[in-house]
Structure formats: structure tokens, C-alpha cells
């Protein structure tokens, strides 16, 4: 997703920012709404045949799925699950990728060579292929799908942190710290890391969207979350047989997924643009 960072933030950037913050407000609401309204994504309806379909004036607002479960409730809980999953994937991949990137950038030499070579190997295979291979080795399930999404996300953090910390190491203040007798580890902690935080946050935001997408793709293939968990990718897969009779079961989960990914892409994108030295806003 970093390929979008070379474009200058246009005036339209403000409205794009509004879109992304709107999506995030929706996600926050998905945590608050169930506290107020009675939503149950797992309750089966008593009369299945009568309950499939759109809203008919009473009952669930967005209708029910093939098992008579409330679609709105499943969408809302799907949002909660996606946020939780995305957050876990981003935090773990960040806590692995950032130190590795720092070591590669700060120490250089053979440490750098080894870390970057391994990262390069991981990045050769397309993300989704690598994720599928990992899941096929570890066995299908939500946890293994999350592991796969984490492994796939790590190289992005390593790359961004390494390139910034390698640049920072050439700065005068690092030389000054070294002359005053600071150890490399101390320089890493007090001089280099603070300069990496904002790009890390930008990468994490982009990674959040990518993680949600990868997990949804694995769920869609039936390699992730197990039923009856409310998850957008799995909802899409479940809805495929009903594409003719009940298209809203296809449209709604996908729309939620796309909007969330768009929101995080926009947010990460504008964060990166804001930081991009070429635009001259920062640095």
C-alpha cells in the first residue's frame, strides 16, 4: 500500500480525511450500539422459511440470513471482530517488525544483510499465497489465519523502520551522541526510535486495512473463522448460494469490508503524505 505515498495531498484530501474518520466513527459505534440496542448475531429465528429476506415492516431492519439470523447484528459484530482481529495482527506484527527494522538500520553490516534477505524472500511470494500456505501448514482456523496475516504484515514494518533508521544514523545528532560516548543501543532507543514513531503509526494504519482484507479473504476461502462467528468474509462465503434470491447478503458485508479498508487506506495514506519530505509539510 506504500505505492500511494508519492502523490501530493490535494485539497480533496480534507474530504478524504472526513470519509476515513466517518468510517472510524462507525467502527467505534459498532462497539457502543450493542450496549444500548438488543442485537444478537447468533440467535436463530423460529420460522426459517418465513424469516429469510428483507425488512418487511417489522423484525430486523436489514432482514435475516439463511439461518434466520439478524443481518444487522451480524454486520455490527463483524465490525467488532474485524477491529479486534486487525488490532491484534497489527500490534504483533509491529512488535516483531519494528525491532528487526531498527536493528537492521542501526547496526547495518551482516545483521542488516540477513534481515533484509529474509524479508526479501518473504516478500517474493504474493501476500495471499504466503498466507494460504501458512494456513495450510498450521491448519485452518481464525488463530492460524491471524498468524498468517501477521507474518505477511511484518516485512512492511521492517522495511519502513529500516529505511528511516538507516537515514537517521547518518545525521549529525547521532554522531554527536556517539562522540559523547553513548552506546549504539542507547542511540537506538533515545535518538533513532523517536524519529520512527510517526511513520510506524502510518504503516500500522495501512496495515490495519490490509490485515482486515487478508483475514476476510482467508475466511471467504473457508480457511479462517469457523461458523457461526460473525465475520464479513465468512458472511460473504455463506451468502454465495443465495446470490440470486437474496443479493443483500452479498452486498452488505462486502460494503462494510470495502468501506473499512477504504477508511484505513485513506487515513494511512494521508498520514504518509503528511510525513513525506517531498511535500515539505513535515521535516
Amino acid at each position: 500500500m506504500q505505492m500511494f505515498n508519492t502523490i501530493k495531498l490535494s485539497k480533496g484530501g480534507m474530504s478524504l480525511g472526513l470519509v476515513s474518520s466517518g468510517v472510524i466513527v462507525l467502527l467505534v459505534l459498532s462497539f457502543l450500539v450493542p450496549l444500548v440496542v438488543d442485537l444478537d448475531p447468533y440467535r436463530l429465528s423460529d420460522n426459517l422459511r418465513a424469516s429469510i429476506g428483507l425488512w418487511n415492516g417489522s423484525g430486523p431492519v436489514l432482514g435475516t440470513d439463511d439461518l434466520g439470523r439478524d443481518v444487522l447484528a451480524r454486520l455490527v459484530y463483524g465490525a467488532r471482530n474485524s477491529v479486534g482481529i486487525g488490532l491484534a495482527v497489527v500490534l504483533v506484527s509491529m512488535s516483531v517488525g519494528v525491532p528487526l527494522g531498527l536493528f537492521a538500520g542501526v547496526y547495518g553490516g551482516w545483521i542488516d544483510k540477513i534481515i533484509m534477505r529474509v524479508t526479501g524472500i518473504l516478500m517474493t511470494l504474493p501476500n495471499i499465497l504466503l498466507a494460504i500456505v501458512i494456513v495450510s501448514v498450521l491448519g485452518a482456523g481464525l488463530l492460524t489465519a491471524m498468524c498468517a496475516a501477521t507474518v505477511v504484515a511484518i516485512p512492511g514494518f521492517i522495511h519502513i523502520v529500516r529505511s528511516i533508521s538507516a537515514l537517521e544514523m547518518k545525521r549529525q545528532y547521532v554522531h554527536a551522541a556517539r562522540t559523547s560516548g553513548d552506546s549504539t543501543l542507547r542511540i537506538l532507543w533515545t535518538e533513532v526510535l523517536p524519529n520512527c514513531w510517526v511513520p510506524i503509526v502510518a504503516q500500522a494504519t495501512l496495515g490495519f486495512g490490509a490485515a482486515i482484507l487478508n483475514i476476510a479473504a482467508l475466511d471467504f476461502l473457508g480457511l479462517g473463522a469457523k461458523p457461526p462467528m460473525a465475520e464479513w468474509g465468512a458472511m460473504l462465503a455463506d451468502a454465495r448460494p443465495f446470490i440470486e434470491s437474496n443479493p443483500n447478503l452479498i452486498v452488505l458485508p462486502g460494503l462494510s469490508l470495502a468501506a473499512t479498508i477504504l477508511g484505513f487506506t485513506l487515513l494511512g495514506d494521508s498520514l504518509q503524505q503528511w510525513l513525506n519530505p517531498r511535500t515539505g509539510v513535515h521535516q
Binding site: 500511494f4 478524504l16 534477505r117 499465497l129 501448514v137 454465495r240 477504504l262
Partner: protein, 334 residues
């Protein structure tokens, strides 16, 4: 000039992943490689010696590598056929879809980028940018389902899956359906109808797979064009009174496209294979992507192993070729 060393280590790394992935799977590797059905004691012992599982791991790895170099990727558990034969039979379908998607992505993405750059910071630019971002953020498996919903279910215009209508019986010569249906034998039987059917089947998967590359190419082209349009020689050309069409077509586009060609080469294969996995699964397209997914369902580990290796090699070689080409095309990079 050619980063041969780095290519070789990456290749070795991929082969290590392919080799050791199977050994991380819980369970007996022999049973994993020959399947539950073939596990009677005699076949078991035969497999142990054939796979060299009684020898040291290093020996196993080098012999795996040696056999892979000779094109022997083992035998599929589910079909009992050579993995290399199976993969070879499925490449044309993936390549056909990938080539169609690449063509569409270049034909749509590059002009969008050029127009956005010319009308930079106007409403047109912002609209195109928003569209490409939306396209970039749309999960391709959902887009595929939406296209099926619209064009197959609602409008009944295009087929849902497969490469050719079952009414046609076209012999598989090249594996490329668009070529096979145009060969004299097929032409004699069906005229151009088989070709039209193949084209029909290609539309939805191509659009599904091309959407993300379109967005990427559009934004890349825009960025490159914006940079080139601010160069002095464009100003000079404008001062000389050349027509805008001439300036953009002859002076700007040529210089702006070079970095884009590199991007197209570098990212396309990655995007194509990643896209192929989801797109082929949705549209029942009999290529590498759907083959990998069904092998994962069937726990057909030799196939998964072989696919990783083959895709790794293809990606690495393409990256190398793009690298060489871009250096040849741009003397400044030499």
C-alpha cells in the same frame, strides 16, 4: 549489472520454505506426501526410500532441489499425476486471464492517470483519484460477486464460471482458449462462435482482476506525469508554441511512461498471482490460483510445495528481467 547472487539466495530461500513447510505440518511426512490411501506398509517403505526420508535432512533437501531442477516436483496425492504436468496444464489459463487483465489495466489505468495529471487539482483529478482509491480498496472477491450479481444474475448477459460454453468441444492445443478457438479445426466446426464464447467467459474475471492494477497504474501514471510536466523542457516546448497534444503525447508521455513500465512489470505478476487465487476461485477458472486453493482443501501437500516453488521462480525471474530491461531502456540507471 545483474544481481545474480541476490536472485540465487532468494531462490534458495523459496525452496527452503517449500521444503520445510511440509515438515512443519503435524503428522507423518510420508503419509502427507503419499496420502492416507497409499499408506499400506509396502508402499510406505517404498515412499520412504524414494523420498529419501531415512537419509539426513541436508541430503533430502539437496535431492529435493536436484529433482526440482530437473522438473520433477513429485506426485499429486489427489490425482496421482505428476505435479509438474498438472501445473503446466494450468499455466495457460492463468496466463490468458493475467494477460487480459494486464491489457485492460494498462488501457484504462494509464489514460486515467494522464488525464488526472493534465487536469491536476481540478474536480476531474479529484474524482478520478477518489475512484481509483475506491477501486484499490474494494476486495476483489467481493467485486467478483457483485459483477456476477449484476451481469449474470440481474442482466443475464455474461456467464458465471468456466472458460467456454459446454456446448463447444474445442481440442486443447495451446491451452489458451482464445487461440484454440481460432485454430482451423475449431473454426471449421463452430465458425467464430466458440471464440465469442471464450471472450464472453473472459470478461468478468478480467474486470475483477484488473481493478486493483488499474488503480495502481492510474496513480503511478499521474505521479510520474505531474513530475514530468513540471520539467523545463515541457515549458520550452510550450514556449515554442507546440500543440498540447504534441507536448503531452510526444514529450511528456514518453518520459513519464518509463518508470511506469518498471512498476507494471514489478507489481503486475505479484498482483496477477494474488488476484488469480481469489478471482479463479470465484469464477471457476481452471488456472494455477484455483488449483492451489483446491489443493489446500485436499491437503495435497506435493502440489502446494510445487506451486510455491514454481511461482517463486516465475516471480524472481520476472523481477530480474524487468530489472535488466529497465536498465537497458534507461542509460542513466546503468
Amino acid at each position: 549489472m545483474f544481481k545474480l547472487g541476490s536472485l540465487t539466495t532468494t531462490l534458495l530461500g523459496i525452496s527452503l520454505i517449500a521444503f520445510f513447510a511440509i515438515r512443519l505440518v503435524p503428522g507423518d511426512p510420508v503419509v502427507l506426501m503419499i496420502g492416507e490411501r497409499g499408506a499400506d506398509p509396502e508402499q510406505y517403505r517404498e515412499a520412504v526410500t524414494r523420498l529419501g526420508l531415512d537419509k539426513p535432512v541436508l541430503w533430502q533437501y539437496t535431492s529435493f532441489l536436484g529433482r526440482a531442477v530437473q522438473g520433477d516436483l513429485g506426485t499429486s496425492i489427489s490425482s496421482g499425476r505428476e505435479v509438474s504436468t498438472e501445473l503446466l496444464a494450468r499455466w495457460p489459463a492463468t496466463l490468458e486471464l493475467g494477460a487480459a487483465a494486464l491489457l485492460l489495466a494498462v488501457l484504462v489505468g494509464v489514460p486515467i492517470g494522464v488525464v488526472a495529471a493534465i487536469y491536476r487539482d481540478t474536480l476531474i483529478d479529484r474524482l478520478l483519484t477518489a475512484c481509483s482509491l475506491a477501486g484499490y480498496s474494494t476486495p476483489n472477491f467481493w467485486l467478483g460477486l457483485l459483477l456476477i450479481l449484476l451481469f449474470s444474475v440481474a442482466l443475464n448477459l455474461l456467464p458465471v464460471s468456466g472458460r467456454l460454453d459446454t456446448a463447444f468441444d474445442v481440442s486443447n492445443v495451446t491451452g489458451f482458449m482464445l487461440v484454440d478457438t481460432l485454430l482451423p479445426a475449431a473454426r471449421a466446426r463452430y465458425g467464430l462462435f466458440a471464440f465469442y464464447s471464450a471472450l464472453h467467459h473472459l470478461v468478468l474475471p478480467t474486470v475483477t482482476m484488473a481493478t486493483i492494477p488499474i488503480a495502481v497504474f492510474a496513480r503511478m501514471t499521474r505521479a510520474s506525469m505531474v513530475e514530468v510536466l513540471s520539467e523545463d523542457y515541457i515549458l520550452a516546448a510550450r514556449a515554442r508554441g507546440l500543440s498540447p497534444v504534441r507536448i503531452i503525447g510526444l514529450h511528456a508521455l514518453r518520459n513519464a511512461l518509463l518508470p511506469i513500465i518498471v512498476v507494471i512489470g514489478l507489481h503486475f505478476l505479484n498482483v496477477a498471482i494474488a488476484g488469480a487465487i481469489m478471482t479463479e476461485t470465484i469464477f471457476g477458472w481452471p488456472g494455477i490460483g484455483s488449483y492451489i486453493v483446491s489443493s489446500v482443501y485436499a491437503r495435497d501437500y506435493p502440489v502446494i510445495q510445487g506451486s510455491i516453488l514454481v511461482i517463486g521462480v516465475v516471480v524472481i525471474l520476472t523481477n530480474g528481467a524487468v530489472d535488466v530491461l529497465s536498465r537497458l531502456a534507461n542509460p542513466r540507471m546503468r
